[in-house]
Symmetry: none
Subunit: 201 residues, 4 copies
DNA sequence: CATGAATGAGCATTCATTCAT
DNA sequence: AATGAATGAATGCTCATTCAT
């Protein structure tokens, strides 16, 4: 009985998130009104405030879910390919991320360049709670260890990962969202080569 | 006589740009109203529309001027240091840019990660008109040639420069504006090392 | 068994009143939402409507209880001091009221200047029901009789009492809530003198 | 030319004040929306904010103008009757005020018991600026002097005047607005007698 | 009896833009 | 060219009240 209600609430929250995701990627964050979100989610405007304290909280939620999904999917896919070379494993992961962004450029638009890393980084460091971060934390730990095993200090390893993430994000954004620099496939060789140079000791 | 009038107009435009720059960096773009800009510039609200079609046009102008200034200053400074190694010349230029951003973090805030490169890139490619881009074009050409002389194709060279610019921008933004990743000086070694790896053939 | 349930209901109602009293005096009536009241009382929002038809009804209840309490306490206290002079007995009663307001300025805030007398007056005249007014009625009767014994007509006596109550209320409110006119203790001599002049035949 | 515009602005401001006065007295302050005020004044909602920073500022303005008008009219009328006895002059002034409130009970509703004195008192003490207070200040000074001439200290004189004002206000409000205590004319004898007792040395 | 999720009208306030002067 | 008064649509957010469970 109670579960049924909780279920409905969860569904409603997800409908709001989905509606927000759609609208944010279509029109951008500040051009989207709560009225629109509520209408598209099929709930009353007031209902929105039962689930989120304000618009920005919803944005964060949406961004976080978006990045999570992308990362998780890419990780799962890349697990199948078991490569000996650690560096190539990174490249494969990045390649999957790019392919996912190619399929869903809206995700890229919503995540937006500025927000992705800081959010992810924060969540990982805090170990916040809702359980999604667990996987991130593990992934991050794995790469940090790999780099530490290659002679990098922890801090340096962190910086390096940050730079790789930012670089990949920037390239994808420019190519897939802004349409600059030509098709992403033409950028891949240089991007991969750069990443290899960056993380190979 | 006519020149005098033209002068006054130019001054008014610059006052508007300056006011906008101040306010954008203090409060952000969408939190700044045209009313505030006009008031701080000492002109009537209606006057704004004699000089700019809308708020966004002003933003673009401000960003462009901002980036121009930074680049030009960095270039001028870096010219004094004549290094034999081309790669080290790049590093020195980047170092100047970082030092300038350190002094004026507001510039970084206004330029914002997403906007800088696309704008600059566009301006350079189009050869837009107001003459400021001349210097950019020259700088860009110089680096493109250097890379082409080292075996890169023109397109690849362009991609590489783009990646370097984005990387530097992202690192500066995270450190200086968001306060993440620690002080910029602690990031420099890794950043410079990465750039060296990227552009050394 | 039934009593137990009735008891619980009464307790719930009192918790709602107490919560409302707290919030009204902290933030004012229209700044307080039913949501807040219910939350502080530890009941569901819907439950509120089982006990009160709307917010205003609760306000009336709260004001009434508040005034009752003050008057009753003052009366009880003043009974100990047995003075021969009737006028001085009134003064002593007023002094007690003032002292109580001094201790609990929130009561004064909630009662507010406009509401006190009209409510009390209404309750006394109607003989509303919940029994609390009994004591008021007696007190009022006593003073009316005193005045009638001194040559005032009933109507005139009523007017006089009204004026005294309003005057005391206004002075307390200005001094204790608004902080005007200086400390209440400096106002007492003039206030008492005025009341003496008013009711001495 | 400029005067014409200033004139129009003044007219618009007055239309807004008039509309607010009407609505406040019809429905009360917090039940009146800015939308209603603007509509009744025949201006756009945004225009309201060109003339007043917010709703409360308008309320203060309206209350102040209201009280001013009443006092000034009463003073002017009472000047004709030249009475030797100072106390009787006060009574006549009060009588005029009551008659004015009788004609315009809405004024009483708007001024409301709580607000009148504090506002007036503040304005008089500050000597604010817009010139209306001049007359108040003079009136107040006159009465203060009279009382001081009769042996009251300045502070005591101030307290006494405060009490008289509050008393008159409370009686008028109860009778004319709340309809309690019977018609005002039946209250006058007792009220005047009380005031006489209060201010006669 | 009790709950609390859902509602949607309502509100104060902002602001880009226009236009008569 | 310059002004700044006027506009009114738009927005984020609140809250008393209802009602299915």
């Amino acid at each position: 009985m109670v579960d049924k209600i909780q279920d409905k609430k969860k569904q409603k929250k997800e409908r709001l998130e989905q509606a927000a995701y759609d609208l944010f990627s279509e029109q951008g964050f500040s051009e989207t009104s709560i009225d629109q979100i509520a209408r598209r989610a099929g709930v009353a405007k007031g209902t929105f405030y039962l689930y989120f304290p304000d618009k920005e909280a919803l944005l964060n939620q949406v961004i976080f879910k978006c990045s999570s999904r992308i990362f998780k999917e890419a990780m799962q896919e890349s697990r199948f390919k078991q490569l000996d070379d650690w560096v190539e494993r990174v490249i494969v992961l990045i390649d999957y991320v790019i392919e996912l962004f190619k399929e869903r450029p809206n995700d890229l638009k919503v995540i937006n360049k500025n927000l992705s890393w800081s959010m992810v980084g924060d969540q990982v460091e805090k170990g916040d709670g809702e359980g999604v971060d667990q996987e991130f934390a593990e992934l991050l730990s794995y790469y940090l260890e790999q780099l530490e095993g290659r002679g990098y200090e922890r801090k340096a390893a962190f910086q390096l990962i940050f730079m790789v993430v930012e670089l990949v994000g920037a390239v994808c954004y420019s190519s897939l969202v802004l349409g600059q620099l030509g098709p992403i496939d033409e950028l891949k060789p240089m991007l991969f080569e750069t990443v290899r140079k960056m993380i190979r000791n």
